[in-house]
Subunit: 131 residues, 2 copies
Amino acid sequence: MRITNQREIILQELKKMKTHPTADELYDVVKRRLPRISIATVYRNLERLSEAGLIHKLEYGGRQKRFDGDIHPHCHVFCVKCGRVCDVDTRSDWSIKDVVMDAKGFQIFEGSLQFEGLCPECQLKDSKNIN
Amino acid sequence: MRITNQREIILQELKKMKTHPTADELYDVVKRRLPRISIATVYRNLERLSEAGLIHKLEYGGRQKRFDGDIHPHCHVFCVKCGRVCDVDTRSDWSIKDVVMDAKGFQIFEGSLQFEGLCPECQLKDSKNIN
DNA sequence: ATTGGTGCAAATGCTTTGCATAAAG
DNA sequence: CTTTATGCAAAGCATTTGCACCAAT
């Protein structure tokens, strides 16, 4: 994979962010350093970088894809109200393989555990009956 | 929720299918009984039925949404090649709650475990180097 | 020099919506 | 008879693609 300016800056900026941005959120950030970059380049590179295992693609619920520069294995919670995503710490002595009994002939590569909930901000709004 | 003919037949047909169909796959099936039904009606009803908890919506990886008429709690494997979805049997003595250590202030409603792999058909094709 | 990447705009594909009409309670 | 659902076509929105140009090796 060729190291282009665009590719490097996309990777750098994503690694800085802890918010698991969508492609267009990252585009807005990257544009500040590369004003002429195209959204297509951002999409293409996010795809290539995640194929290469340098970043992670988070795909959840009909919503927009999100990307994570932190590739150390971990789980995520998704706020059902605002869409915010946070990391979740899980017990280290737990393994997905221990859980499957019958995979119906499928060869399983990967398991992923994800959570849905309300983020602290949306809990607050809820308790005040705002929206 | 009003019981219309369309709604009832959509629910009936989905409950019959074990393939976790997409909205348009189900539309094709339902059309055989209701030739004038619109795809919009199928989408609207699948949404209402899943809000009502009568069916489950499966959302996985950028792909099209799939629907499941079987609402008893269970996990799914998604074939990374053909998109096929199957049920997975898991150990009953295992609980998602036992796994989370720190949810960063999120109030967690639900956890879901899903798997990626190759279905038997795609394993076969792979071994024969077809596609 | 050759291959792969970029920017732009247009296309794609799934899903949703506005609106007039029809059916359910 | 009041409300909710339907069918149709059009719109929406995230993402992808074709193509001519450009840059990295």
